[in-house]
Symmetry: C2
Subunit: 407 residues, 2 copies
């Protein structure tokens, strides 16, 4: 439907007439009342009226449990071209109306047109790094709170030596006297240059963008002026519109990696909240995240694999009229999982590790090297055990001895 944005909900109710409920939503969240309007008024109001697109009923697993997926179309004319307006329209009051979860949103062309999306996207990030033929490797500082600049610089340098493509701040590192934003950027970028002179490899450092909402853009520009070449942003703590404004700011000239902090308050319940593919997929992408972190299916912070792949699918889906976002499944990742990750996510993925890099028995640099060796092996379809026996691949061998592997 042109000029309508369509919301899909899953609604649990053992007794409801789901068709009636859908009609109630379509009217209640748009024109307010319909059947009692005079005909002349109906003609005027019709363009503001929500429409029921579909009602699909299901029997639940528990005895007597019933649920339905409802699709409701909301006229673009009712809301402004921003994510808060759309979310408040389709799920503001409705989120509080019983067991109902927002599964998906389909944006009209007109709504989408207000969103430039990721300024870099997968290809843009690849171009910055000059890496087009393999998955990227990201590493996370081991620990940052209470560490000073020289310690952070040393951690950064060790990670960079291992051949990682991106290094991200911890999302819980805020403005602090030990490692203030600009000093931290300067220290880490100087470590990046030192490492590059040895490895020949470029690197993006995603510095954590924090502070008051009104200062985010200025802080980002301060970081960029100090040399930052990427940004990490806790988008859900500030709202999607803050991400959208940052990503569409012409003076913010670096990729933005969206962190999923707080996402678990929204997506895991079957009955409430916002589904992960929308929360961490479509909305992050339309709001302009060049990279999106989300829980991997491999670690302790778990998201079911089908949900993971649905997030990834939305980040890459060519149907959305904006650049793709790099999927960054995170947590619980060690080199022995690389073939599995590539099988699950393909080559356009960022392999992201913390403990799987710093915990390497030979140290952080060897940890990064082990990942790079695992990626090279997986790309040439060589079993990890075989690659581990190759000359020069000692780091990979030790990683596999330490953490095991899955082919």
């Amino acid at each position: 439907m042109n000029n309508y944005c369509v919301a899909t909900y899953r609604c649990y109710d053992d007794k409801a007439d789901f068709h009636k409920k859908a009609q109630g939503i379509a009217v209640g969240l748009t024109v307010g009342s319909w059947t009692d309007l005079p005909e002349a008024r109906k003609a005027e109001m019709e363009k503001h009226l929500g429409r029921v697109i579909s009602v699909t009923e299901f029997e639940g697993n528990a005895p007597g449990e019933r649920y339905a997926d409802l699709q409701i179309a909301y006229p673009d004319v009712n809301f402004s071209r921003d994510i808060p307006a759309l979310l408040v329209t389709v799920f503001g009051k409705l989120s509080m109306d019983g067991r109902i979860k927002l599964l998906d949103l389909d944006f009209s062309d007109d709504f989408s047109a207000a969103f430039p999306g990721p300024a870099f996207g997968i290809q843009g990030v690849r171009s910055l790094l000059g890496v087009h033929d393999r998955p990227l490797l990201m590493s996370i500082f081991k620990s940052v709170i209470g560490h000073d600049l020289s310690n952070l610089r040393e951690q950064f340098y060790r990670q960079a030596l291992g051949g990682v493509d991106l290094i991200k701040d911890d999302e819980i590192l805020f403005e602090n006297p030990l490692t203030p934003l600009e000093k931290r950027v300067e220290a880490c970028m100087s470590a990046a240059q030192q490492a590059e002179s040895e490895t020949g490899q470029k690197l993006l450092y995603a510095v954590n963008l924090t502070g008051p909402t009104s200062q985010l853009a200025a802080n980002a520009k301060r970081a960029i002026a100090a040399g930052a070449n990427a940004i990490l942003f806790n988008a859900l703590a500030y709202g999607y519109d803050a991400l959208h404004e940052l990503s569409s700011d012409p003076d913010i000239t670096v990729p933005i990696a969206a962190h999923p902090a707080l996402a678990g308050a929204f997506y895991p319940s079957p009955h409430y909240g916002i589904a992960a593919p929308l929360l961490l997929g479509k909305l992050m992408r339309i709001a302009g995240a060049d990279l999106v972190l989300f829980p991997s299916p491999y670690g302790s912070v778990v998201m079911p694999k089908e949900e993971n792949l649905a997030v990834q699918s939305v980040l890459m889906n060519p149907a959305l009229p904006v650049r793709t976002s790099f999927p960054v499944p995170s947590a619980g990742i060690h080199p022995g999982l690389v073939p599995l990750i590539l099988r699950d996510f393909g080559n356009d993925v960022v392999v992201n590790a913390g403990g799987g890099i710093h915990g390497h028995p030979q140290g952080t640099a060897a940890g990064g090297q082990a990942f790079r060796q695992a990626i090279a092996a997986a790309l040439s379809s060589m079993p990890l055990t075989e690659a581990a026996g190759l000359e020069g691949n000692e780091a990979l061998k030790i990683a596999i001895d330490t953490w095991g592997y899955k082919e």
Copy 2:
């Protein structure tokens, strides 16, 4: 504990060692690792280390179900003085780590000191209206989308004639060509003055503040310049920090009513999200909401009554070092419920109605009058049925005939 903010979680796990889990959180979300640190380093890092305050285990209702309430103290030194930093620290990654819900936050004095809280609060709103001796009455437009200025003005005037103290925009009314912000304010405030010349009563009009995040403050000031004397704000769609910045802006000189749109994505699940008394109570208040709307226990959009009263209790709790916020339990309210509302919430409450005002058989103005008559009766402990028989109380009588009553 001084200089620590304390988070309380409810954590469901049929097998976990909750004490170990609490320790893992306290370390993992602060210094990252502890037991393997050298002693000298421990001495330096101790001030950054989280502390387990308490672990209280419970047996659940289902066979074998176990849960625990965990209290963890996070050192102030680890995060900046803003709500995104605190939420990302205590529930960023952790929100995604199994069945865990954030129940409460206790702010340190130092953290609280960064938050002026509501600029008006209950007493300030009462002073603006000159009403100190009774609950306030708020009404909501019947429908707004697709209506033009003269229609909105007429709706406003009818509501104002009924003796309401506050009129709020619909939260789904965004910037639009029919009723743009400044024109809407001018039309409604002129209706307010016209009504005041007849009723002698002051009135606050909470206009919906919308638009891009970076323009919120400017839009608020435009509205105020046009005559707006209150603001409605969908705080959860923009983040608490946006509310905090608005409420502490010295040029935003009017009360702010926080709307709970999207709250149902957070609070209803027992296993995930953020509990309502924190989400709609403490965080809204510390962020500076002068009035907070939340689902009433009386209507179709239901929140259990104990949760309702817990929200109210936090909004009024004298232990927080900021002004109190007016509780506005909303949805499903008609005049016959007024004695019950006052019994549940006391006199410092805003009685908020939409259908219960506009649906009055004698029209909108009579709807407001019926509420005012019900409030007067309840305050003098007169049964509604008796008050309905008094001369001049026809509006109340008809309301009770229409919707019934509860004493």
